[in-house]
Amino acid sequence: MDHTSKHSLNTTPVPVRRRVWPVGQILLLLPALLLLLLFFVLPNLDVVRVGLFDPDFTLEHVAKITSTRTYLSVFGNTIQISLVVAVLGALIGYPVAYFINSRPRAIQMKLLLLILVPLWMSVLIRSYSWMVLLGRDGVLNAALMWLSVTEAPVRLLYTSGAVYLAMLQILLPVQIIASYSAMTEIDMTLVRAAQTCGASAVQAMRRVFIPLSMEGTVTGVALVFMLSMGFFITPALVGSRKDLMLGNLVMQHVQQLNWGLAAAIALLMLLATLVVVVLIKAAGRYLTRWMV
C-alpha cells in the first residue's frame, strides 16, 4: 500500500516498458521445476493412472469405495478427525504464536527452538511417547492417582481422545510456525496508529492485527488438515478400534499389492482434501472480512 501511494505522488513520467519474458529467471527456476516434475507431478499422475486404468479406463475401484459403507464411514471419520485437529490447532497455536511474537527478538529464537525440536522428532517416537504418558501405568495416571483425583487408573490410551491429543501435539508446531511467520510480517505501527486514532486495545487487535495475520494462520490450518488426512501410524498406535483412517486402508491394500484400490483411495483423498482446503481458505476470507 505504501508503494502505490508513493508512486502516485511521483510526477515524472514513467517510461513505457515492453513486457519482456524474464528468460534468465525462468532458466534459474528450471532445476526446481524439473525436480517437481520428476518427483511430484509424474508420480502423482501415475497414481491417477493406477487408480483409473486397469489397464483400460475403469471406474471400478472408485465405484467400489463410493458404494461401500465401511469406506464411506472411514472417509467421513478421517475428514472429521483432520478438521477437528486443524481447528483446535489454530485455537491453541495462534495465542502461542502471538506470545512468541511479542517477546524480544533474542527470546523469540529460543522459544521457536522449543517448537522446532519436537517437529524434528519422528512421528513414531512421539506416538510411542504418548503411549508412555497415557498408559495405565503411565505418567498421567500416576499423577491423577497421587492427587487422589481417581482411585484406579483411568482409560486414557486407546481412545479417540488420545488420537486427537497425539495428532494435535504432533502437528501443532506447523500451525504455530505458520501463524508466527504471518505475525512477523505485520507492521506494528499500524496497530499503534489504530490506537492513536481512538481504537481500544481489543478493537485494534480485532480489526487490525488479527485480520493481517489471518492469511498465514489459515494457511496453517490448511496445512495441518492436509497432513492429518494422511495419518495412519498414530491412530493405529494410540486409538481405539474405531479410529480407522484412510491411510490405514491404503496400507492394507498396498501390503497385498492391490495398487488399483489403494490408488483410488488416494485419489479420492486428494480430491476431498482439495475441496476442504478451498473451503477452509474461503472461511478464512469470510472471517477476515467480517472482522474488518
Partner: protein, 355 residues
C-alpha cells in the same frame, strides 16, 4: 575451491578403487540377501552367512528390507533390474509375490536333493527357513487360584477368567481362534472358514469376546508392552517375544494349544543374477542343522533341518514353535487361503471393527 574439490574427488575415487580391489581379493562374488534387520540380521550373519562366506569364497550383502519388501520386489522385477538374489518373505507375502510372478521357481534337486524337508516346508516358489507362532499368553498372577487357560475356549470364558484381553487388529488367526473356541477341529478350520456360514460363525463368536478386548494390538512390541503394563491379562503375541517378558519378571505362560504356526519363507527374486549361488545359500540355510541350532539359541525361529532337535535340552525344545510336541497342538496358518480370501474378509473385518 576447485582445487579442493578436485582433491576430494580424487580421494573419493582412490578410496572407491581401493575398496573395489579389496572386495575382489576378499571374495569372487557377492550374494545380496534381503532380510529382516536388527537382531535377526545379526544372528543370521554370525551363523549362516559366516559359514557360507567361508565355504563359497563369496561375500553376502544383507539388506534390511522387511517393511515394504513386496513393493520393492515388484518395482525391481518390473524395471528388469533385480539387485537381490535371495529374499525373505513372510507366509502372507509369499503367495502374493508368487502369483504376481516376482519369484523364480526353486530347484529342489539342488536345495533338498534327498527330500528331507517335510511337505509344509516346501512350496514351489519358497522354502521355509524358520517358524514362529502367534500364541495365547496368560499372566498367571491374574488367573483365579489353581486355574490356568488351556485353550481358546478358556480365552472366551470371561466368567472363569475375568479381565481385559487383547488380540491383533487384523482378521488373520483371530477367525481361526474363534472357530477353535467354537468347537471346530483344527484340521477343519479352513474348510469351515471357506464357506459364508463358517465366516458368519467365526464373526458371531468374535462378537462374544469383543466387549472384553479394550485394545487391539498393531505390532509385536505393542502386544508385549500391553502384557508387561498389565493393560491386559491375556493376549496373543509372537512366541519369540515372550522371553522378554520372562526376563522382566512378568509371570507369563504360553498356551501352545491352538496356536497358529506361521512359516517364514525364502525365495529367489525373478531375474536374480546369481541363481546358482542363491540356491546354494538357501540349501545351507534350510538343511544345516548345526548352524540352525546355533541360530535358534539366539532367535527362537526354528526351521525344519533334519536332526535340528538332536542334542537340545528338553526344556529348550518345549519353547520352540516347531518342536514335535508343539507342532502337534497347533494349526498351520494357511497362507494360500488368506491370499485368496483376504480382500473380502478384510473388508468385513473393518466393518466389524467399526461397529
Amino acid at each position: 575451491m576447485t582445487v579442493q574439490l578436485n582433491k576430494i574427488v580424487c580421494g573419493a575415487l582412490a578410496a572407491c578403487t581401493l575398496a573395489a580391489v579389496g572386495a575382489t581379493y576378499a571374495a569372487d562374488k557377492t550374494l545380496t540377501v534381503a532380510w529382516s534387520g536388527g537382531s535377526v540380521a545379526q544372528a543370521e550373519r554370525q551363523t549362516f552367512i559366516a559359514a557360507f562366506e567361508k565355504a563359497n569364497h563369496a561375500r553376502v550383502d544383507l539388506k534390511a528390507s522387511e517393511l515394504a519388501v513386496l513393493a520393492q520386489l515388484e518395482s525391481m522385477v518390473k524395471i528388469g533390474d533385480t539387485s537381490w538374489d535371495v529374499v525373505e518373505l513372510s507366509g502372507g507375502k509369499l503367495p502374493v509375490a508368487a502369483d504376481k510372478g516376482l519369484l523364480e521357481p526353486l530347484d529342489y534337486s539342488v536345495i533338498d536333493p534327498q527330500n528331507k524337508l517335510p511337505a509344509i516346508a516346501r512350496e514351489k516358489y519358497g522354502v521355509v527357513w524358520g517358524t514362529y507362532s502367534t500364541v495365547l499368553v496368560q499372566n498367571t498372577s491374574k488367573n483365579p487360584k489353581g486355574k490356568k487357560m488351556r485353550s481358546w475356549k478358556d480365552f472366551w470364558d470371561v466368567k472363569t477368567f475375568p479381565g481385559p484381553r487383547s488380540l491383533r487388529a487384523w482378521p488373520k488367526e483371530n477367525l481361526e481362534y474363534a472357530l477353535l473356541a467354537d468347537g471346530v477341529d483344527k484340521n477343519d478350520i479352513y474348510k469351515v472358514l471357506g464357506t459364508e456360514q463358517g465366516l458368519d460363525r467365526a464373526f458371531r463368536k468374535l462378537d462374544q469376546i469383543k466387549p472384553y478386548v479394550p485394545v487391539w494390538w498393531e505390532n509385536g512390541a505393542q502386544s508385549v508392552q500391553l502384557l508387561a503394563d498389565q493393560e491386559v491379562y491375556y493376549s496373543t503375541t509372537f512366541n519369540g517375544r515372550v522371553e522378554k517378558l520372562v526376563k522382566d519378571k512378568v509371570p507369563v505362560e504360553i498356551v501352545w494349544n491352538g496356536g497358529a504356526l506361521m512359516r517364514g519363507f525364502m525365495g529367489i527374486p525373478k531375474g536374480s543374477k546369481n541363481i546358482d549361488l542363491a540356491q546354494q545359500y538357501i540349501k545351507l540355510r534350510v538343511l544345516d542343522a548345526d548352524l540352525d541350532r546355533q541360530y535358534i539359541q539366539q532367535i527362537p525361529y526354528p526351521g525344519f533341518a533334519p536332526g535340528l532337535m538332536d542334542g537340545l535340552k528338553p526344556e529348550f525344545i518345549r519353547t520352540l514353535p516347531a518342536s514335535p510336541e508343539n507342532l502337534e497342538m497347533q494349526f498351520v496358518s494357511d497362507d494360500q487361503f488368506w491370499k485368496d480370501n483376504i480382500a473380502h474378509i478384510q473388508e468385513r473385518w473393518n466393518e466389524w471393527m467399526l461397529k
